[in-house]
Symmetry: C2
Subunit: 247 residues, 2 copies
């Protein structure tokens, strides 16, 4: 029997999703609490790992449990959320067919990276990335279009990634404006490489601050070299916004 | 010589604006740091106090200092912000005429109260007020119109307030929608009574959850009785958004 979970978390107090000996992780907390509630040691499989500090609005994970487990949605959500720390919540849970796999059946994922434009740090936006006010958000907006489509994103992967296939499809990439100089870069794709959103965001800042032109994004993609892209920005302003299984 | 300051703060770690013996307050921190920077013991006068936990995006305050003080905006902002804690920042400072008074020459103030609609607590919105998903934001929106105009707001003042004149003018009152079930009640008025925004917000929730109809807002205003209004909601989701001196 497979149970699918939708999870929201503030990742700022955690060493990322993946369970690691001696570290406080989202997976670690969830596996401990869910195992206690279902009286069986379970393993969680997420749509993907999130790094240290990274948040999720709707991470998806599944676990397997014996067929004779009596699943009661309200009882399960109530018990799990009662025992979880305040910065993690299971928003929903349901039984899914054996063909569902939180990691391998993902169709699309959407991330948001929150940033604000200001000459100085703003206490009300402490969790978000500050970008100096010499930035042009319009140039960043223009650069976003070059991300859309199927591309080899080798320029935007952390060097320590073990991956060899860097081709991913980006369905949408845009800048959202929340007013009061608060923005988010929102990107939807078939999948993302290690640190990919954070490196793209660093590159957008390079473009927004006129260190290169918007169409440099295309050249950086085509060049397939990590060195030409921007730096890896902080994980704290990043949110895994949604995961789509094409249901 | 009068200096006007624009201040942003996250109030969650403070016992409000007003300096109090043995308490950590916004005024206390600012007076200590500004006095050190200008080498003179100064007193700050704000547009109004904010309660414990309440935030400001653009609080305004002024202080007086001897005429021979050499004011350099960049030097002043740099020094003050270097020594202030991370959750308080002086966004701007300028010399103003003697007729300016941060408290007594205010024309309009705008507050925002952030809330989200959800069956459960959301880690990403931990600072905001949760309203259960049986609420109708449209009913709250409808009730807002009765607030606009000149009214006696005696129903919306904390009983311990020492005030006797409860007449205030509300220029605008509305619900902003930020997406993902996050909203803010935004209200602009000539001035606000102690706890007034928080009690109006509590009343809007009563209306949104159908404990009374939208036009009950008018009856509650006319009744001039604190007992008929809603409860005083938490201060943490409240932001003093702007202060307007008609300049």
């Amino acid at each position: 029997m497979k149970i699918k979970l939708i999870i929201e978390y503030d990742g700022s107090q955690y060493s990322g999703w993946q369970a690691q000996e001696g570290q406080r992780t989202i997976q670690g907390e969830l596996e401990r609490v869910v195992s206690d509630v279902v009286h069986e040691k379970i393993t969680l499989y997420a749509s993907g790992r999130t790094d240290a500090g990274v948040n999720a609005r709707a991470q998806v994970a599944h676990f397997e449990i014996g067929e004779n487990f009596k699943f009661n949605r309200f009882q399960f959500l109530g018990s799990v959320n009662f025992f979880l720390p305040d910065d993690i919540i299971v928003k929903d849970a349901c039984v899914v067919g054996d063909d569902f796999d939180a990691r391998f059946t993902v169709k699309k994922k959407t991330y948001r990276y929150y940033f604000y434009v200001s000459r100085f740090e703003r206490p009300l936006f402490a969790k978000f990335l500050r970008v100096n006010d010499n930035v042009s958000v319009d140039l960043m907006r223009e650069a976003c279009q070059y991300l859309i489509g199927e591309h080899d994103f080798k320029s935007f992967v952390a060097r320590k990634s073990g991956k060899t296939n860097f081709v991913r499809t980006i369905y949408d990439a845009k800048i959202l404006d929340f007013g009061d100089d608060l923005f988010a870069f929102e990107i939807t794709g078939s999948g993302f490489l290690y640190n990919m959103v954070r490196i793209i965001m660093g590159t957008l800042i390079k473009i927004g601050t006129k260190k290169c032109a918007p169409n440099a994004m295309k050249e950086i993609i085509d060049g397939k070299s990590r060195a030409s892209a921007g730096k890896t920005v902080s994980g704290t302003p990043l949110v895994l916004f949604s995961v789509d299984y094409g249901e």
